[in-house]
Amino acid sequence: MQTATRIEKEKAGTATGSVKPRQPWWKPVGETVLAMAATVFLLESFFNFAGIGQQEFFEPDPLLGARHIPSKQVTWRMEGLSRDSFNSFGMRDYERTLAKPQDTVRVAVLGDSGAEGLQVPLKNTFPIVVQDMLNEEAKKRGLQKRFEVMNFGCAGYSMLQEILQYETLAAKFSPDIVVLFYNRMDATESIIDGSMRSIADPKPFCYLSPEGEVKLDTAILEARADELKPNAVLDWLRRNSRLYGVVNQTLFSLSINDKHFVKWKHMFEKGAKVRKVAPATYPAQNEDQVAAKLLERLNNDVKSKGGRLIVMMFPNLIDYPDLTRQQKLFSGMAEAQGFGYLDLSDPVKNYKRKEELLIEYHFSTKGHKLIADLLKPYLQ
């Protein structure tokens, strides 16, 4: 009876145009779900075509704090432009085999964003450019010898992380030569001040024991272990979703642009969880002493595996006191301990149009080419 009345009312409403026929509940829900699915599909496809939301390339790592996502396609636009994929080991490099091919000289390049070179296409990064130059020359001279210059550079890595990257990954490729591309702050970022422990990024730090040995400080990694645990959903989104990349990019942009957002974020984080990091059990560290010990450790490690170390210094264009100190320290160590040393400061300073060598903070294609030219004689 009730149903009949409702139908009559609806009929009457339709006829006069005053009352809309009532829809079953599932219809608008279904339409919304369909619209959502179509929008997600369209956006993901469009972003993939346009290279949007592909600047997310880190995943958590229990030892290093963060590492490149293996095989991840990255479109980098924050400075310069590149559109390439990491290899299956998470290196900004072409695909490589773990086993060293015959008659091949392998070079492993360690470093931070300066070596990683996301600002230029992969083929224009100095490891690839110098590799091509060396192979071209070997071919011309009719030699069987081949060169593989492998890039282990990763943005934001400290000197300690670069060395751990060598020990945990690069060494497996049996490199004959290891190039450490030292950037300013690489040593400073390897140690941590007591007051910063509760707000530091989750990554390893180090200190010198009373005996002068390098010791790892993993307290911050341990305190934030929950953030570094694998999470199936987040890991999948990080690897595959451009929309997820856009969200993270937006949050990052807001955190550097909007003071109100930062205030709200801090309030939210404070309310969410207070992290307790174990206090430091060692005195304040001297960055130069730590850097010297780290370098000594790397050199000994490389030598013990039959390799040779070359330290390449980032150009000190405005004579930073810390970098000037470290230039002296490392060149003295190179002489005393027998490793190679290449300082890019003078060649860059003396370059005729040096503004062309850098985009903003990182090397342009011309800059990478210059590094390759300078590095080549050290690898031959």
């Binding site: 608008p28 829900v29 339409e31 919304t32 619209a35 959502m36 929008t39 369209l42 956006l43 469009f46 972003f47 346009a50 290279g51 949007i52 939301g53 636009r77 924050m78 310069g80 432009l81 451009r242 929309l243 856009v246 969200v247 990019q249 937006t250 990052f252 942009s253 807001l254 550097i256 642009n257 909007d258 109100h260 957002f261 503004e355 062309e356």
Partner: protein
């Protein structure tokens, strides 16, 4: 508060929701409080300044009505007050610096005194945001009341007219008759207003963030390193600036108009396809319409307009444009920019008159080639004027103008443009404009039926609306540059 900030994205929905759930009698007060919060978010003390200006102009309006015999004196007093405030905050340092530079030059020339013995007399004045827009709205108000319009009796309504946040900082310059008329009507929530408002806000954000801000990076690189630019670089930077300012300003206007519509208010349109103008007169009818009509009504026509001798009409045009240039900013390059536009307008009018009288040219005029040549030439003129507007100094403007015609090696700006998201986002925008125009002009009834069906479906499905708005927001966020840039017209 910036329209493109996180804070505004929280502020606007909060105001809109409160506004519509609140009883009607509190709504004007709510908007007034929200507008002052919006303004004082930047510099709380300057909220008091705007309040004081509002109070004085409200009193002037009432006095003009009450003391009809002395209304001319009151009007002159009001104009002096408003222009005095504007001059103090905006032009005091410009006048002092100009005077100082002249005296310094004269002294060095006459007495050979060392130039560095002179210290700059600049005052420490922070320009209140939007003061040029506020002042023009106040002048319009007192002039119109002087001319016979009824003064606003309710102070709250007048204060809201002055401070209404969607048009507070950079216009459009409202007319109080239109605005207060809307205040009298009881606002009713309408779905179509809401949808149009959302559409305008998203369109404005796309123009501002995706196109304007990304273009800004390219343009800044060019103008900041003018000596390093090649020929193609210079053309990209110069053309880029003209489009940057359009996307920036029309984006701002769209967001403002959209925000007003969400509250049930209509704010005037400021742009009407300005780059399709076939001559400069046409351009100024389509660009920053609220300013150009203000200049016409309160400066050009009172000067005599064009119903005077040809010589005087030319002078009126020049003076209006020079003052219009100076309104934009206290710097000589703005004055020269205004004079450049004034000269262009005079020449454009002379040419149009000549062509209409000429036996051959008058026959060519209806031809589409004539029209599109006019569009191209107007565009070229705007590029040149843009150099004067954007360059920080006259020598920099000259360097850039020189580089437009002299082939030189470069490539930095070109690479930057090609590496940016602009080729994709500009194509997307052009595609959108083309689709919109084609649909509007389509003659086939099937197309109209399909569009109206899609529209009806969209109007009836709130879920789909939410999904589509979110999708467009994602596109904007995806293409957004890392750093947020303020609106260019905020500095005026």
């Amino acid at each position: 508060m910036l329209f493109n900030s996180f804070t505004y994205m929280l502020f606007l929905p909060a105001v809109v929701v409160l506004y519509w759930v609140m009883p009607n009698r509190f709504r004007t007060t709510l908007l007034l409080v929200a507008s002052y919060l919006f303004y004082m978010n930047w510099k709380p003390a300057y909220g008091l300044l705007i309040f004081a200006l509002t109070l004085v102009n409200y009193a002037i309006g009432l006095s003009l009505e009450k003391f009809a015999a002395k209304k001319k004196a009151i009007l002159i007093g009001g104009l002096i007050f408003n222009l005095g405030c504007l001059c103090f905050f905006k032009y005091a340092n410009f006048l002092l610096e100009s005077l100082f530079s002249s005296l310094k030059g004269l002294s060095v020339l006459v007495s050979h005194a060392p130039a560095d013995s002179w210290t700059s007399p600049a005052l420490k004045i922070i320009l209140p945001l939007g003061i040029s827009f506020f002042t023009f709205e106040f002048i319009h108000y007192i002039v119109d009341v002087y001319r016979g319009s009824a003064a606003v009796k309710n102070f709250r309504d007048f204060a809201l007219f002055a401070a209404f946040f969607p048009s507070q900082i950079a216009g459009p310059i409202k007319r109080f008759q239109d605005f207060t008329h809307q205040l009298l009507e009881k606002p009713v929530f309408r779905g179509e207003n809401f949808r149009e408002g959302m559409f305008l806000i998203l369109q404005g954000l796309f123009k501002k963030i995706v196109l304007g801000d990304n273009m800004g990076y390219v343009v800044n690189t060019g103008f900041n390193h003018a000596s390093r630019m090649g020929l193609v670089d210079t053309w990209i930077a110069v053309a880029g600036f003209t489009f940057q300012i359009f996307f920036d300003f029309s984006g701002y206007t769209d967001i403002g108009r959209g925000s007003a519509l969400l509250l049930g208010y209509k704010v005037p349109e400021n742009f009407n396809w300005p780059f399709l103008a076939a001559n400069l007169t046409d351009f100024w009818r389509r660009w920053h319409i609220s300013l150009s009509t203000w200049l016409r009504d309160y400066l050009f026509i009172p000067l005599g307009g064009s119903r005077v001798s040809a010589q005087r009409a030319r002078f009126n045009t020049m003076l209006t444009m020079v003052l219009g240039g100076l309104w934009h900013g206290a710097a000589w390059h703005y004055v020269i920019w205004g004079a450049f536009h004034g000269t262009g307008l005079v020449l454009s009018k002379e040419w149009t008159d000549f062509a209409s009288r000429h036996p051959v040219l008058s026959k060519l005029r209806p031809h589409p080639i004539w029209h599109w040549s006019g569009v191209a030439l107007t565009m070229l003129f705007l590029f040149m004027a843009g150099i004067l507007f954007r360059a920080e100094t006259i020598p920099q403007a000259l360097t850039i103008a020189h580089k437009l015609v002299i082939p030189a090696a470069g490539g930095e700006v070109t690479t930057m443009f090609l590496n940016s998201t602009l080729p994709v986002s500009l194509s997307l925008y052009l595609l959108y404009l083309a689709a919109k125009t084609l649909i509007e002009r389509a003659r086939q009834p099937q197309i109209h039926t399909a569009v109206s069906l899609a529209r009806r479906y969209f109007e009836n499905s709130i879920g789909t609306q939410v999904v589509v708005y979110t999708g467009v927001a994602f596109v904007i966020l995806g293409f957004a540059p890392l750093h947020v840039a303020p609106f260019i017209y905020f500095q005026f």
